[in-house]
């Protein structure tokens, strides 16, 4: 099982969240399929699943309190739990926290220079 949500970088970059519409429990997803559409005060964003799997749980608190994504993205602001068949192989396709942090910093610095 993996728990998915928005990174702290993404929540800060996109602004205060007004609505988070999550795909329902039971949804079978391929990597890249939408797990949530998010409306912030500034933009609408579609959050893709980073891996293949089936949604087995959604965070119902986000329906009334989507601001939890801004306040606690790695805690109470989680979005869905995904059951993944080949977890090790799927995780191997992803960046670890350190590599993601480096990438986010590079993106932010590049945007500030543009």
């Amino acid at each position: 099982m993996v728990r998915l949500g928005l990174s702290d970088f993404a929540q800060q970059r996109n602004g205060d969240i007004a609505f988070a519409n999550l795909m329902p429990t039971g949804s079978v997803l391929d990597a890249g399929d939408e797990i949530a559409s998010i409306e912030t005060i500034k933009v609408n964003i579609s959050l893709p699943s980073p891996m293949n799997g089936t949604i087995v749980e959604v965070n119902s608190m986000l329906q009334d309190s989507p601001e939890l994504i801004n306040q606690d993205p790695y805690g109470e602001g989680w979005m869905v739990v995904l059951r993944v068949e080949e977890l090790e192989r799927e995780l191997g396709k992803l960046l670890d926290a350190e590599a993601f942090s480096r990438l986010a910093r590079q993106q932010a610095e590049a945007e500030l220079k543009s």
């Binding site: 007004a18 609505f19 005060i41 500034k42 009334d64 945007e111 543009s114």
Partner: protein, 150 residues
């Protein structure tokens, strides 16, 4: 995405303590200082323009926020008050701007609590994302009065 934008106004002295301002967005008007600062009544003043800039910017951001939060806004009116402090060295500063919006929003009884919570978030977002509110060092104080109708 460009990270900067520019806005312009042009002022011209019209004699005595009077001027004419041409706004980048079109309108032109006379201005002066307030009567208690050797100016004239009945025209725009920098003090009024400052308080108006905060009031209008926060209102426009609030309207946008209510749209993003899908709130059904019925009415909005906001009195703004800027507080000027005269320092010991006679310099002056707006220390705070108090906004007193009177807001009417439509909701049913079942959704009232959620609507009020979202409305407060929309107000907070309006101040947070207001360009003018972000650009000044005066403290922004919100004193809303909220009414719901079904």
């Amino acid at each position: 995405m460009s990270r900067t934008a520019t806005y312009h106004t042009t002022v011209q002295w019209k004699g005595e303590h009077r001027g004419r301002i041409r706004m980048g967005n079109g309108p032109e008007m006379d201005f002066s200082a307030p009567p208690d600062a050797h100016g004239y009544a009945g025209v725009l003043t920098p003090e009024d323009a400052f308080v108006a800039a905060v009031n209008t910017c926060v209102m426009m951001m609030f309207i946008w926020s209510t749209e993003r939060f899908k709130l059904e806004l019925v009415d909005y009116e906001c009195e703004a008050e800027g507080t000027k402090l005269i320092e010991l060295d006679r310099t002056e500063v707006f220390t705070q701007v108090t906004l007193r919006p009177r807001i009417v929003v439509r909701t049913d009884a079942a959704g009232r609590e959620g609507t009020l919570k979202q409305l407060q978030r929309a107000l907070d977002s309006a101040v947070k994302y207001s360009l003018v509110a972000n650009s000044i060092k005066s403290k922004i104080i919100l004193e809303p009065k909220i009414e719901t109708v079904s």
